[in-house]
């Protein structure tokens, strides 16, 4: 397709400037080539592999000769108690994360904004960004140690302060989701604050000056000036996180969970990994993955649309 376009351009070309541009086009295509090949091989070919979801894929038969089963795997998925539980867990965990990862960083940014000792402000900022840069392997290692019921730091403090029995945070179905949500907010709070802080600095100071003249106190200024001015960015963050509703945090959960808490902590991604790669049930796992990809696709596109409609946000 591309060459014909070039040819047409070439015939229509007049003037040296334009000719240069046409001669240069092949250079532009060439520069794109490595990236195109990599994305094609590692992103688009796997999409073709999704046909597995409609087959009973057997490695020795390949894609061409494996029997077709239609929507069988999708039916199985909705009939399996396991799979339904996993979808539910995913929704609960991700919804809680979306809400708290929006509300807490926003509040945090507002509080930081009231600090006028710059050194203190910068120090706090630098420290709270820290967990974002550490992987869930490192944090998992730290949390497993600190949350251990056998002398973990957290249980020691709780026992010392409130005299309660040690809690097996990572092995108790009543606690696991709470731990997942709290530790995720803990890890990402500082980082999520950045975008709100940037928005805070761009609010026109004359709005506050006018409010002060009118005798508004700081709380009233926050309610009537700060929050309304922040609304567009809040909408952008909120709508864009819609696409994450089926991403409950694969990295995190794989590093924190264990069979004791599959009931509340197993999510779609970890389920696909166990069923597909560890048990070798390729077709069924691909079907579950495809189900997730399709729903996510719809939600991401909807999110972008809403962000564009209500906050005029464009990704490119």
């Amino acid at each position: 397709m591309q060459p014909t376009v070039d040819l047409k351009q070439q015939t229509a070309a007049v003037g040296t400037r334009k000719q240069w541009k046409l001669k240069g086009t092949w250079q532009l295509h060439t520069m794109l080539l490595p990236a195109l090949v990599i994305v094609f091989v590692f992103q688009y070919i796997p999409m073709l592999g999704l046909v597995m979801a409609f087959q009973d894929y057997e490695p020795w038969l390949g894609f061409l000769h494996s029997p077709w089963v239609g929507l069988e795997h999708f039916k199985t998925m909705f009939e399996y108690e396991d799979a339904r539980q996993v979808i539910w867990n995913t929704l609960v965990i991700s919804t809680l994360k979306i809400i708290f990862n929006l509300a807490i960083p926003l509040a945090f940014a507002l509080l930081l904004n009231e600090i006028y000792v710059m050194k203190f402000k910068r120090t706090v900022q630098t420290i709270v960004y820290l967990p974002h840069f550490l992987s869930w392997v490192i944090l998992g290692g730290i949390l497993i140690d600190m949350l251990s019921p056998e002398g973990g730091m957290v249980n020691r403090v709780l026992t010392a302060l409130f005299g309660i029995e040690p809690i097996f945070f990572l092995g108790d179905n009543d606690w696991f989701r709470t731990v997942v949500v709290v530790t995720d907010v803990w890890k990402e709070c500082g980082f999520n604050t950045i975008v709100f802080l940037a928005a805070l600095t761009s609010i026109n100071p004359s709005l506050y000056e006018a409010a002060i003249v009118d005798g508004a106190n700081r709380w009233q200024q926050t309610i009537y000036i700060t929050l309304p001015s922040m609304l567009p960015i809040i909408i952008v963050v909120g709508t864009l996180s819609l696409g994450n509703i089926l991403n409950a945090g694969f990295d995190q959960i794989l590093n924190l969970y264990n069979p004791l808490v599959y009931k509340t902590g197993d999510i779609i991604d970890t389920y696909v990994y166990r069923v597909g790669l560890l048990n070798g049930d390729f077709s069924y796992a691909t079907a579950v993955g495809l189900f997730k990809s399709i729903i996510s696709f719809i939600l991401v596109v909807t999110g972008y649309r809403l962000a564009y409609k209500y906050a005029n946000y464009k990704i490119f």
């Binding site: 990236a35 203190f120 392997v137 490192i138 694969f250």
Partner: protein, 296 residues
Amino acid sequence: MHHHYQKSLSYKIFTIFNYTFLTVAALLCILPLIHILAVSFSGSAAATANLVGLWPVDFTLDAYEKTIGNENFLRSLWNSFLRVVLGTAISMAVMLCAAYPLSKSDKAFRGRKIYMWFFVFTMLFHGGLVPTYMVVTKLGLTDTIWALILPSAVSSFNLILLINFFRTSVPKSLEEAALMDGANHFTIFWKIYLPISVPAIATISLFTMVFHWNSWFDGIIYMSDVKHYPLSTFLQTIIVQQDFTKMSVDAETLQNLSERTVKAAQIFIAALPMLAVYPFVQKFFVKGIVLGAEKE
């Protein structure tokens, strides 16, 4: 700077609360690491007996000696180093080359829109874990470093950041002048775009380095032998999964690896490069995010 409302009693009470709250929040982010650091420098018996808080008990470097003495650990450290350097270099080279044509206007580069969608679509839809795994396996990349580098070499998000940077930061007049002098695209890219883009290149390189240092899951699924594990994968296996079956080590090393102090030392060593670079990355990250948020 000081306003009238700041003198009211309620605002003063709020300020005290605010400083206290933010201090506690900052402590919650740093104390876990200090605790791990204290454990790593403590005597094994004290750590096992849960006597260590924020300061080492029976100070010793024993755990670090055991860690450094473990050849599996050292090899994985080297693998990680290689992965970070090679992965970042390849990723940056490929993405910069792609960002240049994509930063042109639709008129100057016909077909740009189609290419853009080709990349952006991958942000919206994924083949998923199993098909991707099969592609990497079929290509024979398992147990080679390429399995850790190539699949993630082009990040559409970083690519968009680079494109936006090129579009906003390179003066069009400079480019026009070079065109008049008969320079071709390769020259313009090399002589004008790259030198101007050093801050953006540094930023995205750091993102990519952090990504490679922290990645562990690809190591688990694509490497069958511990010899090829990057550090994150190695730590995930022995500290999180506590699975020693893949290591062919003698009983004594095994004993060492499962000690709490040794685990703490390994965690801290793995965290160290991030601790060293993140204060610098942080500044760039802020810019990067703002760069990402304020588009046209």
